[in-house]
Symmetry: C2
Subunit: 468 residues, 2 copies
């Protein structure tokens, strides 16, 4: 039975045809086929020059494929890709991922090819992702068509961030970096040239997806700006939406035009509109990953009063600097601790503990002292967000601190964000915190910035709720 | 023959007594003794309870030590440490490192002990580093007395940055982190409570040290402020001086007071004075390491016009945003490339290459194209600094790019700073660039900030030269 086009089947297909599948690990068609072998789906390689690949019978042409294919992944080059889509449509295949470049981004001839694809999609009611798409990657579904090397080892199963990127390298490099320290990814979508499917389609899809709780976009141009913003505004009522849209300055805007071949639009207008519609904007890939990570793992902050707990006094001071620095994003303030809180911390630690915020329990502290001090801060009604500076160098602090913080953050309504460093073990330390459900960053600036994202998110949510 | 006190022998001693040396790897005296075994110096452990440690005969007491010891490392606790210094002075030992805490930072009794040490140093003309000192670490001299775990694997032999820190954890954690990606350290000095030796002594020493080309201080309080600044001003004429001094805001300044037990002073006054005297101030440990790394590896920037070379268009745009952002530190501007430069790049790459700055040679670029485009930018008289966005994902780009960039940066007067990411290989990728002599960072913001440090440094140098 022929299937109908839908993102659900595109992203979670039963039967996948790989047009241009290859034995060679150096070819795109070889890399993608190999990745899909892990998908536990039925694969149908097509290649006139092969008869078998990895135990799969190869069809010499598209006509000889079965009638109920869900998705065709087209790995061959531009002109041939367009022809193969025509054949696949005759065969009744409803969903496509087109990997090849050489379309609208390289000149007139490519533009014509891309226009043919656009028309094919429209006239035949099929879904086309791309061309020039990096592919899709959904860890929970075991679906991975991304042909460049990418880090997935530290991506969490049951991750909840949908990452939708227009351009390849930014997305892949950013995620590779994020995954070094743990990142909960629900899906990675490479939009490419957007001849058919675009950011609005995936916004709608992941807004409704129960496994997604945060949507992140890297967009170089937003063609249907008004429509996208209107749709996004509805989504932000329920789920945070983050956009990495570079091109803040005049020169940068010109650079966007020459990179995408499209007019990028005045940045002031974009910025104002994003703000109005409750979309949180970021300016580089690190900020993108940091923001989506914290927004996915913690559900906002009741206010902007931050308490800092540290066993290394110097870092407490640096952290205070960052918290009180004026930033365009949400303002933060140092919480004023209650007398009761201070007493509890002194009782739990030392008579000489500096109990004004930042709370410095000194390098003589141990796990229990850290734990009880954290309890006191969580219970203080004057504290909205807690930043824990967790080092493992002091002799009394052990890796059990990870579980201690994890247990408390699970129970507490108040967000706890950790800053940690651990010499050459830093990345693993953050990853272990991540596996335990704790958001951590390797620099003070990034930990404090994460608190700003949470406060900003809560304000947006409150404003949108009031408008209703 | 008895030795006289000098920093030279303290930092590079021939004969070292370890008071409280132990067999146990869990004791400070055990850890330090073990580290010093690698120093290829003559060691003299002292411990009444041991007879031999690792093939070294143990002296039961200080009196039985030889007469020509250069340095005593005191690993025993506060009150006992003071008594042992008294005995060592009778024995004629000129230099001391005192590791134990429990002095001025914990209350009246500790303050008295510290005062006794201060008096001992003054009356007997000996050098005391500490108490509460983390120790010293000089990679080229194989001297390491640091008792907490620290990363040294990626520290460069022949490193040129002298790192002088008041508080332990900040220094060690920062360096551990920096060393993950390569860091050229000449020396690490833990000042501790500064009962005798302080920042001014080490400023003077490393200013004259031919193997040091950059001095970095982490200070929580500057007691002899005027004297330090006057001395530092002389140094900055020749070598960049960076200070991490947290406590920018009012709350942060209070926190400094409670952490160090000393008045921290108005931050505005400090900031103004540092600026006037040509000292480059930073606000956290990551910035500290990033700044000293670039200032040590590159010798300033002739101007503030930056060219960006990228094979990933999106990153070029983000980088432009960072460059044109107004920052309190030196302003940067996007360089306007000459017609000749643009022609050279187009000839070396593709007719469709976006040759306005940022120069985007696209993911179809290869090593040769990157290399020739970089040449064209280096030769352009309108360019002062170059930021290379170097990714290894595009099929035409190989790890040879590291050598290509290294070769050019060695020849060129113009600073080249690299931003790179490489999935889980990021740290190693930056480390390999470092070993090849290239400064690289894993985020755009940090790469651009490094360019600001260079431009700031050159401006300071020009101003101080004019004053002469």
């Amino acid at each position: 039975m022929k299937k109908t086009a839908s993102l659900k089947t595109l992203l979670n297909p039963d039967k996948i045809a790989v047009i241009g599948a290859s034995k060679s690990k150096d070819k795109v068609g070889g890399i993608i086929f190999k990745r899909l072998l892990d998908s536990r789906r039925r694969l149908f390689p097509v290649n006139p020059k092969e008869t078998a690949i990895e135990g799969h019978k190869v069809s010499p042409n598209i006509q000889s494929l079965p009638d109920d294919i869900d998705l065709a992944v087209i790995t061959i080059s531009a002109a041939a890709a367009v022809k193969s889509v025509e054949s696949c449509i005759k065969k009744g295949i409803p969903n496509y991922i087109i990997v090849a470049g050489g379309f609208g981004e390289v000149g007139e001839e490519g533009k014509e090819l891309e226009e043919r694809l656009r028309k094919l999609a429209k006239d035949n009611n099929v879904n086309i992702l791309g061309p020039n798409s990096l592919g899709i990657f959904l860890p929970d579904e075991n679906i991975d068509t991304i042909f460049v090397e990418h880090a997935d080892k530290a991506l969490d199963r049951k991750g909840k961030v949908a990452v939708i990127v227009q351009s390849g390298s930014v997305g892949v490099e950013a995620l590779g970096y994020a995954s070094n320290t743990g990142y909960g990814m629900r899906a990675f979508i490479g939009l490419g040239n957007k001849c058919d499917l675009d950011e609005i389609d995936f916004l709608d899809f992941f807004a409704k997806d129960v496994n997604t709780n945060c949507l992140g976009f890297y967009l170089e141009n937003i063609e249907k700006g008004r429509q996208f913003l209107a749709a996004a505004k509805e989504v932000t009522k329920e789920k945070p939406v983050v956009i990495l849209k570079a091109g803040r300055t005049h020169t940068a805007v010109s650079a966007v035009s020459s990179h995408t071949g499209k007019l990028a639009g005045s940045d002031n207008v974009i910025s104002g509109a994003l703000k109005q519609f409750g979309i949180q904007r970021v300016y580089d890939d690190e900020e993108f990953c940091d923001a989506t990570k914290v927004l996915s793992m913690l559900s906002g902050a009741p206010g902007n009063r931050v308490a800092v707990l540290t066993a290394a006094g110097g870092y407490g001071v640096m952290c205070t600097d960052y918290i009180e620095k004026k930033e365009m994003r949400a303002l933060l303030t140092m919480a004023k601790l209650s007398e009761n809180t201070k007493k509890k911390i002194k009782d739990a630690t030392f008579p000489f503990t500096a109990c004004e915020n930042p709370v410095d329990i000194t390098a003589s502290a141990d796990d229990r002292m850290f734990s009880e001090s954290l309890d006191a801060l969580i219970e203080d009604k004057g504290v909205d967000v807690i930043i824990c500076i967790a080092f493992f160098a002091p002799p009394g602090i052990t890796e059990n601190l990870i579980d201690i913080i994890a247990e408390k953050t699970k129970k507490s309504e108040k967000p706890v964000i950790v800053f940690t460093k651990y010499g050459p073990f830093t990345d693993n330390s953050i990853k272990n915190l991540f596996y335990a459900g704790v958001v951590a960053y390797p620099s003070i600036g990034r930990a404090v910035r994460a608190a700003r994202f949470l406060v900003e998110r809560t304000k947006i949510k409150q404003r949108l709720d009031q408008e209703v």
